[in-house]
Amino acid sequence: MAEPILQTQSLTVTAGSRTLLRGVSLSIHEKQVFGLIGPSGAGKSTLLKCLNRLLELTPALKVSGVVRFHGESIHGPTVDADALRSRIGILFQQPIVFPKSVFQNVVFGVKHLGVIQKSALPEVAEQALREASLWDEVKDRLHQPALRLSVGQQQRLCLARTLASQPEVILMDEPTSALDPKSTEAIEQLIVRLKKTHTIVLVTHNVRQARQLADQLACICLRDGAGEVISQGEPCDVLCSNCAPEIEAYLAGG
């Protein structure tokens, strides 16, 4: 198999004396959906934020171990964390829109990267909104406050905002758990479509979603109070394996 686009090796996260994640080693391949499941509090969000160095915003948390992006450590001395984050976008559980217009939200990231002329922004915004299947719904209200959109639309707006910067990888942290079934379906269809052009890391609580969407799956569960990867591989193998009692308990519980 080709070299993974993202790879972690014995990644450990500690908060003071407490270990949140222990020895996480994962390989994420290009143009695939990599699913992550596990009970809440297992450290899925923490792991996701390690992958684009967003965890550094929380000084209390210390990361050790290696994360490689295209084979190079993301903690290397020449790596610019801000530039890395524009190549590895992230979508949160709750849509976080800024108190600005729809248009200003879509271009919020790309505008400040300094790679695009101001005159080209409307075009970039339209393309990103089309990619996020939101264009038809908002094309007449681009200059209205984004907070007036429904939550489902807001989440797609956040996706459009991330897409506008043309990231290679999109990290999604339970992107549908705050949404109604219809919006959930819209996001799921988008994930299938985006997989052709992007690599997606999808944290989900929803076993059906993981089974349907993921090409590779890892399960993180708590062992001795710290999150560990208990199994990874093809979704059916991970979800059907009865080797680890934690997975069975997790599947039975939710």
Binding site: T58, D82, A83, F98, G109, H112, Q144, L147, C158
Partner: protein, 284 residues
């Protein structure tokens, strides 16, 4: 039954406290308006002092106070912004942060007369400015820095961290996050804090009496050295020592009313801006 009694008793007591404060304020305003109103006329605002304060108006006193307040804003805004960003952004998770908090509170507790003495030593003597509007503005600016900083720090701290995470997740640099996320959403802290500070600075006498203001004879300053201004609080201070003369007494109350008017006006001017910012923050 017993607990209910305590509950009602306590509520009554807190209401009483509010009532006491309100009535003190109302009495004060009433007293000033009642006695000051007869002195108010167009001439009072447009003429300069005549007959050692017994006649004429307070045009240059109002102008001098406004010059001092404008300088105060220019000095306090960058300092408070710097301190608040240091506190809320750069020292996050750093042990120096609590030292900075302490520093801000200590600065807030320094009596204003000490600022006056410091200004006298540094500006009047060491820099040899004599009395100057600039020293007064700088000192008043330093005095209100803690008020403005605390208001800003509180706004920044109440900013949901998810906004900062979202902006950082899009690849924005820290300076861009400050400029486009943190400042726009905390600017009303700056406005509120500056207003509170200015309302206090407008009436401060101790820091400007040795350094910036004289009783009569100054007009519009056109330099830094030896360029004092007249001011409202110092005018009240001097006239009050001579208040047996009924014509002077009317002028004192008129001046006090003008000072009160300026403070209220400042809040009124900023009210629309504050409401608008509030609206934007909550409804986009």
């Amino acid at each position: 039954m017993h607990r209910k009694l305590i509950h009602h008793g306590f509520r009554f007591f807190t209401g009483l406290c509010a009532l006491a404060c309100c009535s003190v304020l109302m009495t004060l305003i009433w007293a000033i308006v009642q006695r000051g109103w007869p002195a108010i006329s167009w001439r009072f605002f447009t003429e300069q002092i005549l007959l050692v304060g017994a006649d004429g108006g307070i045009f240059y006193n109002i102008l001098g106070t406004l010059i001092l307040l404008a300088t105060t804003v220019v000095v306090s805004t960058p300092l408070a912004l710097g301190l608040a960003l240091l506190h809320g952004v750069y020292l996050q998770g750093n042990r120096w942060r609590s030292h900075l908090t302490l520093l801000i509170y200590v600065l807030n507790g320094v009596p204003s007369i000490l600022f006056g003495i410091m200004g006298f030593i540094v500006f009047v003597h060491y820099l040899d400015w004599g009395k100057s509007w600039l020293s007064g503005g700088i000192l008043l600016g330093l005095i209100i820095v803690p008020t403005v900083t605390v208001a800003l720090v509180e706004r920044i701290a109440s900013l949901p961290s998810c906004y900062i995470e979202a902006a950082a997740g899009l690849g924005l640099r820290q300076s861009q996050i400050i400029r486009f996320v943190i400042l726009p959403q905390s600017i009303n802290g700056l406005v509120t804090g500056t207003l509170l500070g200015l309302a206090r600075a407008a009436g401060e006498t101790a820091p400007i009496m040795f350094t910036a203001t004289i009783f009569a004879g100054a007009t519009v300053p056109n330099a830094v050295k030896e360029s004092p201004v007249l001011s409202l609080p110092y005018h009240i201070f001097i006239l009050a020592q001579d208040s047996f003369d009924p014509s002077v007494s009317a002028k004192i109350w008129g001046t006090a009313l003008s000072l009160l008017g300026i403070v209220f006006l400042l809040s009124l001017i900023a009210l629309p801006a504050r409401l608008k910012i509030h609206e934007e923050a909550h409804h986009g």
